[in-house]
């Protein structure tokens, strides 16, 4: 899930297709789709159908993080940093 969060949070407002996410995160389709299903159910990821780029091809499902997903990605990024680099309140 962290790999997917990281992959999606790089450009969080950008929609990404499933196969592109597989290549970016190195996850297999057998791991990626259950994660996308769970994260969509939990409101961390939103999905939309996009018109095909070429005629005759099917519409594609695209994904991006919701506001909660972005917050979780930031929190996990913070938690993963070495303590010396962690941003602390003034």
């Amino acid at each position: 899930m962290l790999a997917l969060l990281e992959g999606l949070s790089e450009r969080p407002r950008e929609w990404r297709h499933g196969y592109e996410l597989m290549k970016k995160t190195g996850l297999s389709s057998g791991t990626l789709y259950p994660l996308l299903m769970r994260m969509t159910e939990q409101g961390l990821v939103e999905a939309e159908w996009q018109a095909p780029a070429q005629p005759g091809r099917p519409a594609r499902h695209a994904y991006r993080l919701t506001a909660s997903g972005v917050a979780l990605a930031r929190a996990s990024e913070e938690a993963g940093r070495p303590s010396g680099l962690r941003v602390s309140p003034a």
Binding site: G18, Y19, M22, S29, T31, Y33, P58, R60, H61
Partner: protein, 198 residues
């Protein structure tokens, strides 16, 4: 050829996801072209099947699919295999002596009854296999017909072994097992009827 196999696998994944997962099935299917352009259609499709099967316990239709496969492949098919093995083995001793009691008395008087009994047991095994297939097809009308045939074969074998071999323990045990199997099939049919999956 590999792309055709990949498409068939993605279709299988879509069926396994059930009605509630039809959007995800279409999403996987739409990505197959992109995977095929990279020459990774088969790996992608196998992953989709794995994903769909991992999701089976998470939704009710998936649980129904798991239950019907378990009933068919863990109960009905092995029961048919055991019956066929008893016919192929040292029949009728392999069948009548299976209850653990005294070995049956087979003599010149009841020897002609052995082939019809073997045919009855083989018929019962065939009925098991037919029920298993129809349960997976969710064809409950035909399941009822095959269940009637199995019940008739089981009852006839009880009467037949009692009269011809004076020992119907194995046939009664077989009929009892069939009752349990048919009760499980009826419960599955009721479950299907309540939810009316496609």
């Amino acid at each position: 050829m590999r792309e055709k196999a990949a498409r068939a696998l993605v279709a299988l994944a879509g069926r396994s996801l059930g009605g509630g997962g039809s959007g995800w099935a279409l999403a996987m299917e739409a990505e197959l072209d992109a995977a095929a352009e990279d020459g990774r259609a088969l790996g992608f499709a196998l992953g989709c099947v794995a994903a769909a099967w991992r999701e089976l316990p998470a939704h009710e239709e998936g649980r129904f699919i798991l239950a019907s496969n378990a009933l068919a492949l863990v109960l009905l098919v092995p029961a048919a295999a055991l019956l066929l093995a008893s016919v192929a083995g040292d029949f009728p001793f392999s069948y009548l002596g299976a209850a653990g009691g005294q070995m049956p008395l087979v003599n010149d008087a009841n020897l002609p009854a052995v082939p019809p009994l073997a045919a009855l047991v083989a018929l019962l095994a065939a009925a098991h296999l037919r029920i298993a297939w129809l349960v997976l097809e969710r064809d409950w009308d035909r399941v009822a017909g095959a269940a009637m045939l199995a019940a008739a074969a089981a009852v006839t074998s009880v009467i037949f072994t009692a009269v011809a071999f004076v020992d119907c323990a194995s046939a009664i045990r077989q009929a009892g097992t069939l009752c349990v199997e048919l009760a499980a099939v009826a419960a599955l049919a009721r479950w299907h009827g309540r939810r009316a999956y496609a």
